[in-house]
């Protein structure tokens, strides 16, 4: 796979208008290099805004990043360009399952099935989805149907799993996955090197704006200064900086080397709990940094 990625990257560099970005982006996704796939997909989309496959690829990358709202927009756009686009129909069905709208999910799956009756994923998901819809639409069945909603939910979840864009391969070195599974991984955890360069995570302000780069720039060198201060005072090694703001708290931890881990939470999270969250995130960051060496 790596050789093919190199070849495709080379081809794309030589001919930026080439459609090889579609294959390259998908391979990068599958390899777990979601950020690289994101760049390739976005650049490709900028060059081919009327290509449904470009929107489909970008939507899959966004779904990998759990940015489902924008993924929905991209799949929706792909369908406007190509109303029978199989990837977009499956993608939207997946998202409808995620929000519990089984009816819409089934409608999209049925449309997909009409155009790709041999697609095993669609057939399987449709069967599961129809089971979910039957289970979820039996209010008149009374006590005998007490377990139906649960069964319907399980069926819907299975259908969503069937439709989920192919899961990227485990990629411990992918920066988007440093904090995978941790609370607030997409908006409140940031791993920086000593120069303020982002190694992983992301940060959003209370209005939802991405402030990752600005915050990273201000924290450049903070690890070095904390270490100097500590040495000067003869206090051993620094283990963290907890700071309280008017609207939220931050916690800085040195997970290893000169790196700094930043955890941000609003004021509803007490400082003590923030320290626990920071410790867990630091452990994840430490593992990631060790793998990177």
């Amino acid at each position: 796979m790596s050789d093919e990625i190199k070849t495709l990257s080379s081809q794309l560099a030589q001919d930026p208008d080439s459609l090889v970005f579609l294959r390259l982006g998908e391979l990068l996704r599958q390899k777990g290099q979601v950020d690289a796939a994101h760049r390739v997909a976005l650049t490709g989309l900028e060059r081919h805004p009327h290509l449904a496959d470009a929107h489909d690829l970008y939507a899959r990358v966004l779904a990998d990043k759990r940015d489902y709202e924008r993924a929905f927009d991209e799949w929706d756009m792909a369908l406007r360009i190509a109303p029978n686009h199989l990837g977009a129909l499956k993608g939207l069905a997946f998202l409808y399952f995620k929000v519990g709208d089984v009816g819409q999910a089934v409608a999209h799956l049925e449309a997909a099935w009409k155009h790709a009756p041999d697609d095993p994923g669609v057939a399987q998901a449709l069967a599961l989805a129809q089971g979910a819809r039957v289970g979820g639409e039996s209010p008149g069945a009374g006590r005998a149907a007490a377990g139906e909603p649960e069964r319907a939910a399980r069926a819907a979840a299975a259908a969503a799993a069937e439709l989920a864009p192919a899961t990227p391969a485990a990629a411990p070195l992918d920066d988007a996955r440093v904090f995978a599974g941790l609370e607030g991984a997409q908006e409140g955890l940031l791993l920086l090197d000593a120069k303020g360069q982002v190694l992983g995570g992301a940060l959003k302000d209370p209005r939802g704006r991405d402030v990752t780069d600005a915050v990273a720039a201000y924290l450049a060198g903070v690890s070095h200064e904390a270490a100097r201060t500590t040495k000067l005072l003869g206090l051993g090694r620094w283990s963290g900086v907890a700071a309280e703001g008017k609207l939220g708290h931050i916690h800085l931890t040195p997970p290893g080397g000169d790196a700094v881990l930043l955890v941000v939470r609003d004021r509803s999270v007490p400082m003590g709990r923030l320290a626990i969250i920071a410790q867990r995130a630091a452990a994840a960051a430490r593992r990631w940094l060790e793998l990177d060496r």
Binding site: L203, D205, P206, R207, R209, V211, A214, V215, Y218, L219, G221, V222, E225, A226, R228, T229, T230, L232, L233, G234, L235, G236, R237, W238, S239, G240, V241, A242, A243, E244, G245, K246, L247, G248, H249, I250, L262, V264
Partner: protein
């Protein structure tokens, strides 16, 4: 403790902090330039250098927190193996800084730093 630089009026504010058990010293530091305004430190603590570094750290944290939409910094605490540095910015921009032992009551020091910040204005 030394009180070589202790302008009248700042002494009571520093006293609020240094009377807490486990506090090794307290300083008022100009947040803009990192210069010592007043200090009550135990022997051996290099006040001038600590003041400069504390002001620099405070500046970085303030800017980062403002960029993150968290508003002004109210209190921060550098935690170390063998002690800690605790800081509260006063409304005037002066930093009230405490150097403490590892087993100090951080909550109590924070309260006294906030009171001192009010007193300093």
């Amino acid at each position: 403790m030394t009180d070589a630089s202790r302008p009248a009026g700042y002494g009571p504010a520093l006293d609020l902090v240094t009377r807490v058990r486990g506090v090794r010293g307290a300083m008022l530091v100009s947040g803009d330039d990192g210069l010592v305004v007043a200090e009550q430190l135990m022997e051996g603590i290099k006040g001038v250098a600590v003041a400069a570094l504390a002001a620099s750290l405070a500046s970085r944290l303030r800017r980062a927190m403002e960029a993150a939409g968290l508003g002004a910094s109210l209190f921060w605490h550098l935690q170390c193996d063998q002690g800690s540095l605790l800081v509260v910015p006063a409304p005037s921009g002066v930093l009230i800084v405490a150097v403490a032992e590892p087993d100090v009551n951080v909550g109590l020091v924070r309260l006294e730093l906030l009171r001192a910040a009010e007193a300093v204005g």
